[in-house]
């Protein structure tokens, strides 16, 4: 009870500060200068239709690199944490009921579709809403589906790790290419920006988003795989 009361008091204390923030908030009538720069220059400079994508991949590319790294870290650490509890490779299936025919077939049919959707989402990131993260999440949901259909399924860790590693190193390398051949680290313009609105445009943005998508998908899959395999211990 004391705990609830104290938590309530603290929440109210914080709420008052937040209230001051909300009440003091003045909506902008015009874009501020940073946003204005993006609105006016993104298409011209980077050739990306989706400004958010341009910001995420190029202007604030360092953030995004960090963000991908966050996932990589999370996946690696989840692996570390759960490592002692994981049974030997191939020891799976014990105790899990065999999946039904319908489920297996369904998931086999659906998985490629989902994968293609995911790839579509991150390849078109510079044109339409969506991008590497969303696409990666969709890729991972394919893995999720496989797991749901067949809880005993074992992913080839080696494949996942290779995708993680290659796409990560490639991402950094692409960033360095920008440093070497364009305006700076993660500058997308070492490739031609192409025709505005085309699939193959916006310089390296599609390349980067593809790498991000692959990497994110691999990280999610790795987290999921590590979490499922803990089951063997009990």
């Amino acid at each position: 009870m004391v705990r609830h009361l104290a938590a309530g008091l603290l929440t109210i204390g914080l709420a008052l500060a937040f209230a001051a923030l909300v009440l003091g908030y003045q909506p902008d009538a015009e874009l501020n200068r940073t946003a204005l720069y993006y609105a006016e220059n993104t298409a011209k400079d980077l050739g990306s239709q989706n400004i958010v994508t341009a910001i995420v991949v190029t202007y604030r590319g360092l953030d995004t690199l960090g963000e991908v790294t966050v996932l990589f870290l999370a996946a690696a650490i989840v692996g570390l944490i759960l490592a002692p509890g994981r049974g030997a490779e191939g020891a799976g299936r014990r105790g899990a009921p065999p999946p039904g025919e319908l489920l297996t077939t369904g998931s086999r049919m659906l998985t490629p579709l989902i994968l293609i959707t995911g790839i579509y989402v991150f390849v078109n990131g510079h044109l339409t809403p969506g991008g590497g993260f969303q696409g990666g999440a969709i890729l991972a949901s394919a893995a999720l589906l496989v797991l749901l259909a067949d809880p005993g399924h074992r992913f080839a860790h080696r494949t996942i790790e290779t995708i993680e590693g290659v796409s990560g190193v490639a991402y950094v390398a692409v960033g360095l290419l920008g440093l070497a051949f364009a305006g700076g680290f993660l500058d997308n313009r070492f490739l031609p920006t192409g025709r505005f609105g085309a699939l193959l445009s916006a310089g390296a943005i599609p390349v980067i988003y593809t790498l991000i998508g692959l990497k994110v998908g691999a990280e999610f899959a790795s987290i999921l795989a590590n979490l499922t395999e803990t089951e063997e211990r009990r």
């Binding site: 914080l14 500060a17 937040f18 400079d45 960090g66 990589f72 650490i77 950094v172 700076g184 680290f185």
Partner: protein
């Protein structure tokens, strides 16, 4: 030069790259990780070199081909380069320390380490607020992973608590960032600093406050830091080093970077939080017994201090970088070193650190780190402390100085307690191998600390402590450690004599007297050290020479900085010396705590006196004006009186002097105490009489001197331990000297100077005598001895001459002292203290008499029948002292004439009149030679008469007061001289009660009690920690909203 971006790219590349390796090739992965970290360190170091040596200008690194604030940019400047170098090097060395753990957990763990170091560098480099957040999150997550490297099963819970708290912080940070962006239209720090919207306060100010609090939370402010302590305690020490040195540096730099956006209004908040953290965490650390948790508390405290300094940066002006940098660098190097050192220690309590004693080089490293943390010279923290106190005093902020110094004293207290325990505990059984690489890392770090000390010294406008010749010579003795003790002893004597010879032409008479006592006197005491020069005597010579170096530097110091640095050096050296005694650990601790407390008083006094002047000559104390002058006087006097062990500040002395080694006791008693007198001399010469609230401060000093003389002597009377007796008597003797100085007349000063000389001679002599007896009988308890006169005649003779000289009876020099003294008293109007001081004269005789009576006369104990005279090396200096006492008694003019003339420059009135062998004062005359002749004639006559009377006297058989059939359960009760002055004790009991001991004990107990009680606030429950963090946020928010419009 390599773009700083490669620091990030290499870190990431290494992390992603090791994932491509086969899971089994861990060795290769480890090598890649090390190579990556080394490359990152090299880039940081290269930039640092470029900035410092080549004078390159800081650069901005753009990303994405767009200018800031539209794209993220990085900055590389001197501060960034230094911090990145520290972070990456810490990471590299920690990786070596964590080798086994990393290899066990495999590539993933190595990737996490690379990313952690990369992200910490990113925090330092980036100029974008949101990018800062991303890097912080990376650090948080990586921390969550690296905590798991520990073998400690409790680490998991600690990691979880850390994540919970980080969640709260990151939410606040995000909210703060987006509102700041909304107000300022930019995420770039440099861009925002110019933006008036944020600095204007209101909602934007509040948003900035949230951002600031979130950043401050990363510096683990007290009391919202229980989670951090748990991480420190449970994590692998290699990671502890990163968490303490690298993470904290990065977080502090982030605060420093961002606080400019909000403007000056937010600085007091940082100062307040930082100081509360510094004092609070240091206080709570007092009751810690687990080494790594202690290091955690200390880290929190040090980071708090830097936070406070960040809050004071406007006040510090251009010195800000050196101050904050000095504190930060000292903290980072020392803390990382200590964490790495803890890897080499198996147990977690302080005593387990005794294991380090198998490798003296590790003790050297340990001492280096402790000294760095405590802010002692010649390390960067010392310069930082000096500048900080001066800047604060100049700005009229003595309350901040007080808080900082109190916190620093707490810190020194637990650090030295730890160090002392480690050095004095018995090393654990079972020798485990210390891997060369790990020892190497620690030693390298310690050496790095010394290099940094030199860097800070070279950059300091006040002077380079490490450049001082005496200190270098003392340090050279460290390199000589492998030699045998005899060689080192001879070298030490040669060095001291040579130092005196080379300085001789430049000394004024006052300096000459002190230099003669310190250097020549020190050399004489070293003669006695030959008696103990078996083997290498590791640690003795560097410590002793450090003390002598400090004393030598003190005597010739021209400005307050040099004086203070010397003071600290001699304190450290003497601490190590005292600590060498068998049972001396608690006494050495109380010595160093009192000494540092006194040193802080001196520091505050100097800072107050200096006002805005950077380099303040000692002679400048004359010019200190009215409102400050008395306070300067009080602070300095208190500081000096901790060394003279004036009553109230004396409690460290008896134990420290009595428990010290035989040849160390005369050093710390005969020589070290004089440093305090030298300081008082200097103070009174420069500042003269001062009064505070209408009270004449010299009168206060006079009373303190009188009380010290009376009580010191009284307490000496009731001692059974011969060395303790001598130690207490030092308190009394120093009381006389302080009294003489405080008389503020010519003869008083002359007498004080005579005391300086006399006390050195007879106290050194007596300590050596008693030491010789101790060496032969194995005890210092006088009631266990008796009748040694026939077995140790030379020692007896030395003691006899010593006590005759000391008690001030004719014909020896003590009498001369008395004579001058009584003349001096007649010159002063202060009558009551005079009575007190008169009283203490006969009391001195009571205890001195016991030395002869109990030890040398009476019944010889059975177990002592076969003992021999003390070793020749102990006897030789005593005989020298005897000769000198007699010589000085006959021809006092040799030394005193010059001094008399020198004093006349300050106080010309009532100088003595030197006429051949006769000395005349306003009240009478004194001819030492004729007195000597008279006394000797009388003495010889009496002796002959007694011998004649007793020629047929029979030896008394067993002196036995044991009753029939009753065995005494306390053997001392059977000794004739035990509790000899019991009747006096009954009468004077109340005066000898250890009031001051009780007072200081009560203070310590109260502090420890508070610490023990208050730290229960850290319940270990992750949710309670979250409560504390949210509570902290709410309180700071409301306090800040109340303060700023």
């Amino acid at each position: 030069m390599v773009s700083p971006l490669f620091i990030l790219a290499i870190g990431l590349g290494a992390a992603f790259g090791v994932g491509l390796l086969d899971a089994r090739s861990r060795g290769l992965a480890f090598a890649i990780t090390l190579a990556g970290l080394a490359a990152m360190s090299a880039i940081g170091a290269e930039w640092l070199w470029a900035f410092v040596v080549d004078g390159v200008q800081p650069i901005m690194v753009m990303t994405a081909g767009a200018p800031p604030p539209f794209a993220i940019n990085l900055r590389m400047g001197p501060a960034e380069a230094a911090l990145v170098a520290i972070i990456c090097l810490t990471g590299l060395l920690s990786a070596i320390q964590m080798r086994e753990a990393l290899l066990r957990l495999g590539r993933r763990a190595m990737a996490v380490l690379s990313i952690a170091v990369m992200a910490l560098s990113g925090i330092v480099l980036t100029r974008d607020v949101f990018n800062l957040f991303v890097f912080f999150e990376l650090v948080v997550i990586a921390t969550g992973g690296l905590v798991l490297l520990s073998d400690d099963p409790r680490a998991t819970a600690a990691g979880f608590k850390y994540l919970v708290v980080s969640q709260v912080a990151s939410m606040l940070m995000l909210i703060g960032i987006v509102f700041v962006y909304h107000a300022g239209g930019s995420l770039n720090v440099d861009d925002l600093i110019g933006s008036p919207a944020v600095a204007a306060g209101g909602a934007a100010g509040l948003a900035f406050l949230l951002l600031m609090i979130a950043l401050v939370l990363e510096t683990k402010p007290f009391p919202a830091n229980g989670w951090a302590l748990d991480v420190y305690e449970a994590a692998h020490p290699g990671f502890g080093a990163i968490f303490s040195a690298a993470s904290a540096s990065a977080a502090l730099y982030a605060v420093d970077k961002v606080v400019g956006v909000g403007g000056a209004a937010f600085l007091p908040m940082l100062t307040a939080i930082g100081l509360v953290t510094f004092v609070g965490a240091n206080l709570l650390a007092l009751s810690q017994t687990v080494d790594r948790r202690l290091l955690g508390y200390s880290s929190v405290a040090q980071v708090g201090l830097v936070l406070a300094v960040i809050g004071l940066r406007d006040l510090l002006g251009e010195r800000y970088l050196m101050v904050a940098g000095g504190l930060l660098v000292a903290h980072a190097v020392a803390k990382a070193g200590l964490f790495w050192l803890s890897e080499l220690v198996a147990g977690r309590d302080f005593a387990a650190w005794a294991a380090l004693r198998r490798r003296p080089i590790l003790i050297f490293a340990f001492a280096t780190f402790v000294a760095m943390l405590a802010g002692l010279p010649p390390f960067p923290g010392f310069y930082a402390k000096w500048e900080l106190t001066h800047a604060l005093m100049a700005q009229g902020r003595p309350e901040l100085v007080a808080a900082i110094l109190v916190g620093a004293l707490f810190e020194a207290g637990y650090l030295f307690r730890w160090f002392g325990r480690a050095l004095k505990a018995t090393p654990p059984e079972g020798v485990s191998d210390l891997p060369v690489s790990k020892v190497g890392v620690v030693v390298l770090t310690a050496l790095g600390g010394w290099v940094l000390g030199e860097v800070w010294g070279a950059a300091s406008p006040y002077g380079d402590v490490l450049g001082a010749t005496p200190l270098l010579v003392a340090l050279a003795f460290l390199a000589l450690e492998p030699l045998s003790a005899r060689i080192k002893n001879t070298l030490a004597i040669v060095v001291l004599v040579a130092a005196f010879a080379s300085g001789w032409p430049h000394f004024d008479p006052l300096q000459l007297i002190f230099a003669a006592i310190v250097l020549l006197g020190g050399a004489v005491i070293f003669v006695a050290s030959y008696a103990f020069a078996d083997g290498r005597r590791t640690g003795f010579y560097p410590s002793a020479m450090l003390m002598y170096a400090g004393l030598a530097m003190l005597i010739v110091a021209k400005d307050t900085f040099g004086f203070f640095a010397a003071w600290e050096v001699l304190t450290i050296g003497s601490y190590f010396l005292i600590l060498r005694g068998k049972q001396s650990e608690p006494h050495a601790l109380s010595y160093v705590v009192f000494s540092l407390g006194g040193a802080f008083a001196i520091l505050a006094g100097f800072a107050l006196a200096a006002e805005t002047t950077a380099l303040f000559p000692i002679a400048g104390l004359k010019q200190v004006a009215a409102p400050f002058a008395p306070w300067v006087f009080v602070l300095l006097a208190v500081g000096f009186m901790t060394k003279t062990a004036s009553i109230g500040l004396h409690i460290w002395l008896p134990g420290a002097h009595a428990e010290a080694e035989t040849d160390v006791s005369p050093m710390v008693s005969g020589i070290l105490l004089k440093a305090g007198l030298f300081g008082l001399f200097m103070l009174l010469m420069q500042m003269g009489r001062q009064s505070l609230y209408g009270v004449d401060l010299t009168l206060v000093l006079l009373w303190i001197g009188a009380a010290s003389a009376l009580l010191g002597n009284l307490m000496a009377v009731f001692q059974e331990d011969a060395k303790r007796l001598l130690a207490y008597s030092s308190i009394g003797q120093m009381g006389y000297a302080v009294f003489g100085l405080a008389l503020m007349n010519h003869l008083g000063w002359l007498m004080a100077l005579m005391f300086v000389i006399n006390h050195y001679i007879y106290k050194s002599s007596l300590f050596l005598s008693v030491g010789g007896v101790y060496k032969r009988t194995g005890t210092r308890e006088m009631y266990r001895m008796g009748g040694l006169i026939t077995l140790m005649p030379l020692t007896f003779f030395a003691v006899l001459v010593g006590i005759v000289a000391m008690s001030g009876v004719p014909p020896l020099s003590g009498f001369g002292g008395r004579w001058i003294f009584y003349n001096a008293i007649l010159d002063t109007p202060a009558r009551l203290p005079m009575v007190v001081i008169f009283l203490s004269g006969p009391i001195a005789f009571l205890y001195l008499f016991r030395l002869i009576h109990t030890i040398f006369l009476g019944q010889l104990k059975d177990e002592h029948r076969r003992i021999r005279e003390a070793p020749i090396w102990l006897i030789a200096p005593q005989m020298l002292y005897v000769a000198f006492l007699i010589g000085f008694a006959l021809f006092p003019g040799l030394a005193l004439r010059k001094v008399d003339a020198f004093i006349s420059r300050f106080i010309p009135e009532h100088a003595l009149n030197w006429d051949g062998l006769t000395i005349t004062s306003a009240y009478g005359y004194w001819n030492p030679v004729s007195i000597m002749i008279v006394i000797v004639v009388i003495f010889v006559t009496l002796l002959a008469w007694l011998v004649f009377l007793n020629r047929r006297a029979q030896m008394v058989k067993q002196f036995n007061i044991v009753f029939a059939a009753e065995r005494p359960y306390r053997p001392e009760t059977t000794h004739f001289a035990w509790n000899f002055f019991a009747p006096y004790r009954r009468a004077l009991g109340p005066l000898t009660e250890p009031y001051f001991e009780r007072f200081w004990q009560a203070q310590t107990d109260a502090l420890h009690g508070w610490a023990g009680f208050a730290r229960r606030f850290y319940t270990g429950d992750g949710q309670v920690y979250a409560f504390q963090v949210v509570g902290f946020v709410v309180i700071v928010c409301w306090a800040a909203m109340g303060m700023t419009p």
